[in-house]
Symmetry: D2
Subunit: 146 residues, 4 copies
């Protein structure tokens, strides 16, 4: 059972903008990298072809609060925590910390993704298969709270 | 006084992903295009060098709810509405509609941006100058509600 | 028979970087927008499902020479010209012009794409179908030369 | 004296497109990541504020030949080699290898960047400072050839 995943990255030049900071849309891309790493850590790919029929996990809600900017070559950590687990959806909390002398939280994000299958190109929500659900648990309350 | 702006776009190939739909992070880029168009429509650039000292408008909160996917070459409208106007910040609501036979809302987003100035590279919140504030008003309640 | 296509764009904030100019990789995205617009102008999509079996057009060579930078909100034109037409591939020339008082060429790009079909996920080069080939011609020499 | 740098990456979801492969423009972003890592490896940032006046390194030529596609979660190496060293510019060769059983070259790229300084927002070519030039050498011919 897993409930968290951590990714460390360095800001790339193309991720910054004329304001000299990481474009706010890129935080959502960083979240996804942590989410997909989490799935690999429990033995699955987010393009879930290991299950029949193949599953997808489209995002139905995304949000982010920005506290401090990131700049080119800054190193930071994305810490993902499972915040909710339902029969057909998962929600995640993401804490962004800049990695220097005293790591502080610089942004906080949330994603909700739905488990889907496809029939003739149409997506419909599906119950998360037991093989996957059994490996995921909600993070302890104190990890989610502060 | 202005409170809304509309942009029509066609989905570009690079905006889609392996799932065959627009990557969810790109909706935040579409929102920004509408926000910046709105600023031009009232005579300013979001890189606000027309005012002394120059202003910036970093995003402090962003969110999006996704109802239906967009695919390559789909045409859609981003309809931006000013939802809140404070002394140092502005909030926007964004309605995404796919433009085919019966346009339906496929996503809804929100952004809050803060007016800032820079001193020695550090950003600090600033009161929105009268020249700008006088041109922006909150959208009528009924436009924001449904 | 068509041999050219023009797209006018305005630089978006996310396309710029810390250096305050459009990131060089984005010129390749602009080229593609012109290429796909060209295909629509002759009645096809680059995701060519109008033909059986469906065709794809992956890029096998891309290059760009950069003469002057583009900045946020600059308006520019991408002028695409067909420079070579072979049985299984097409090559394009792209001229980028910044649209101000005296439009000058600020970059020049080239793409070569190959017509492919897919069998069990594997791509293989295919002869460009007559229905498409008949609508495309190489640009006049003088348009390609200077 | 250094003449090469290697980066290993895993394809991220947002880097792929509807065709299920990495969008061709992203290879130019991968090249840059290797270039910037190379600069850090010799003790500098590509945003070269360690030198007075600060230097920039805009790209004046970029190209790539694509041999095989990369797909989501593929691991690959970008191997950068210095191919030319002039007084005001540097050229790099990039070999992309997919990291599976038998690593094969799947793409080959080239970049030429120019050392510049800025005066009142205008960029002009500058001689590469000795402190930097002394740390960079052209790769051996046999490494560049095959």
């Amino acid at each position: 059972m897993a409930y968290e995943f951590r990714v460390t990255r360095r800001v790339e030049f193309v991720e910054t903008d004329t304001a000299g900071i990481v474009h706010y849309s890129n935080f959502f891309r960083y979240m996804e990298v942590a989410e997909h790493g989490f799935f690999r850590s429990i033995g699955f790919s987010i393009v879930t072809t290991q299950i029949e029929p193949a599953l997808g996990w489209p995002c139905v809600h995304a949000e982010c609060d920005y506290l401090q900017p990131l700049r080119f070559e800054d190193e930071f950590e994305v810490h993902m925590l499972v915040s909710e687990k339902r029969s057909k959806s998962l929600s995640y909390l993401f804490r962004f910390r800049k990695l220097d002398n005293a790591p502080v939280e610089i942004a906080r994000g949330k994603l909700t993704v739905v488990c889907i299958t496809r029939h003739n190109g149409k997506m419909s929500a599906a119950t998360i298969p037991k093989a996957i659900a059994d490996k995921i648990e909600v993070a302890p309350a104190q990890a989610l709270e502060h």
